[in-house]
Symmetry: C2
Subunit: 401 residues, 2 copies
């Protein structure tokens, strides 16, 4: 057995991981409808004006604004109606002095007109229109290029796409967008005790939990997950798993990163890559290994599900977000008061799961193997390594799960 | 032309929509790896214990705890090593008085033993093990069923699945989970002026923006989007679009909901369904129509992209979340100070897009057609209908986009 010797602080572990998590350079073209949450890999520059022509922003009557000056609720002015302009059609007639064209929202403004009187401020009178309100030049008109002019960058490289940015791409006619590829992460469960789901357990076996929690965290943080079958804890099998996944940006093993004789990830890393650290001053999740094989990041996560998942939140997710060009995770947090005193004399950063009950944070932690300590929790608090005690009723920040 | 008569307040509009947005009853079985963010449609009850056997939580030596009493750093006690127990294997030997079995994390606790001494607190001495620290019964042991007992509900109906709940499903061996189906939403752009993307614009045409912004909002809020081609603004064509999508839970039209003569959605609803409201006291987004055709909800959104998208955020998204059994959207918000005085004398609720610059909220609003007023914004503030003025430097809550 190889005991852990020097535990490094969580901050340092995170820094070491982030230093090696290089933003993906490769890009791919995808449909804009699939692009929500993805990151633009190029500036998108418009080659058109939006709107492509001056158009009415209201249903009403296109006029020369100055002809309306003096119109009021008590003293309407009379205009001669010349044509009706639908959205999508092209006006045929010039709007001359004292004339107007009926115009729909979004329809092209006719020549001669420089404003639109809202229908609500008018009244039909045979072929004439009574105008009850003066408009100023440009009123109720969207000018050509008012929204976007040719040469405008509608989406900049590095921006995270959302509904409105996707709308801006559509506005300039683009149905595809170039985005950074998602980092590909192989997830490799190790250990003879790990059984695949849906099969009966043999004595000494437990179901594979970590592939599913890790896979979900990977996907939720910009990555693509490749879920591998369970692998034996031997140098040969682990080396083979690395070789099989040499197209991945990251390989995450779960299990086999503790201090047992069979913890062979260290041997594999020593042989074919570099060990960056082994052992973090965090509870749970101490025996995590991090290293590299060529350009690939290799994480050896503890086999215990909660330890594995909490380290996925605090190390794997930030690394993936950096690789994916995504901003730091906007975790939802809420404030609560601790329901009871918590003693944390471990000298390690503690990741304490809690339930929220009547504004109180109630510890939900059982032991690092208990998936229910997270599944039945609402969030977690982080107790820094140099804090020994959280008092009852002390305010804590709960990161929601 | 049919002017809008009575505008209803935004709160009332939202209530009317939510009242008719019934949670989906149909469910489907999906892979747990696809289940993040979905809502469980059934309780999932474990039929096994987790762990399925008492196991070691540490690498170390399984012992009878009472045999270690008195051990200390200065005065180690000596134990005879009997066997080595790997994770996934079954112990062969009983741990008797003064004996120990080497045991890996996750391995089955041997009969006779009731605790595990961590390897860090031991030293090998030939076939013997020196123990430097006493353990109490149960220490470093996860008891059978400690995490989950048979009959435990690991995921309850109505819960939103996340990595840890997916982990709990895996823990009890389930690779599939029953979740509520996602509401199916047909998105139908209307109007002769709307051109499909990537094609050259004819005079008077603009690109179809709303299908993409609406489609993205639908997907981000638990729905499935069915994007239809552009439809002409005629009673016949709109009625046909409704008939073609009678398998949908909701139909969202964009365009054609203003007051022009060609606004025929009202006619279609009058003929084959019910109009619930037409016109909301909100800026932008006033001319929105809401009604029903049989069990289907029908939303007629303004054609102007920002008006359409802001109404999608404030009406469509909450309706979809209710139909999807999702909690109200956890919008990220941040506080900022208004960069300048905003006058909002419309008597309508105002949806004002802003950029964040040095902690200031700078208005980004151009006019309701300008997609860049949202694409270049960081978020929006909501000015209630009865607030006329937001002062410079006043604190405002910015909903991040």
């Amino acid at each position: 057995m190889r005991p852990l010797k020097r535990l490094i602080p969580l901050d340092e572990a995170l820094r070491l991981v982030l230093d090696r998590a290089r933003p993906i350079r490769a890009s791919e073209k995808i449909d804009i409808l699939e692009a929500d949450g993805r990151v633009a890999a190029q500036d998108v520059v418009s080659d058109i004006s939006v709107p492509p022509f001056s158009r009415s922003a209201m249903d009403g009557y296109a006029v020369r604004a100055k002809d309306t000056f003096g119109a009021s609720k008590m003293k309407p002015l009379t205009f001669a109606k010349t044509e009706r302009i639908y959205a999508g059609s092209v006006p045929k007639k010039l709007v001359s002095r004292g004339a107007c064209s009926e115009i729909a929202t979004g329809a092209m403004l006719p020549k001669g007109a420089d404003a639109v009187v809202m229908v609500e401020d008018t009244e039909l009178d045979g072929d004439n229109v009574l105008v009850y309100e003066a408009v100023h030049p440009g009123q109720n008109v969207s000018k050509k290029g008012e929204d976007i002019t040719p040469g405008t960058t509608v989406v900049a490289k590095g921006e995270v796409l959302n509904p409105s940015k996707i709308g801006a791409l559509a506005a300039v006619g683009r149905s595809k967008v170039s985005v950074y590829k998602r980092p590909l992460v192989a997830i490799v469960p190790t250990g003879d005790e790990i059984a695949e789901l849906e099969k009966p357990l043999r004595p000494g076996q437990v179901y594979n939990i970590n592939s599913y929690t890790l896979g979900t965290v990977v996907r939720a943080n910009g990555g693509q997950a490749r879920i591998m079958s369970v692998v034996k804890d031997t140098v040969k099998d682990l080396a083979k798993a690395i070789a099989q996944n040499d197209d991945c940006d990251m390989i995450v093993f779960s299990g086999g990163s503790s201090v047992g004789e069979r913890d062979v990830i260290l041997d594999v890393l020593e042989e074919s890559g570099d060990i960056v650290f082994h052992g973090i001053a965090v509870k749970p999740g101490k025996p995590t290994i991090f290293g590299t094989v060529k350009d690939q990041l290799v994480l050896g996560m503890p086999g215990y599900p909660t330890a594995c998942l909490s380290n996925a939140y605090i190390l794997l997710a930030p690394a993936l977000r950096r690789m994916s060009h995504l901003p730091e995770r906007a975790t939802s947090v809420t404030e609560a008061r601790m329901s009871r005193r918590i003693v944390s004399t471990t000298g390690r950063t503690q990741f304490l799961t809690v339930r929220l009950e009547d504004g109180k944070a109630v510890p939900a932690f059982k032991e690092s193997g208990a998936i229910t300590s997270m599944a039945f929790a609402d969030g977690y608090i982080i107790i820094p390594h140099d804090v020994d005690l959280v008092e009852k009723d002390e305010r804590v920040l709960v990161h929601l799960l």
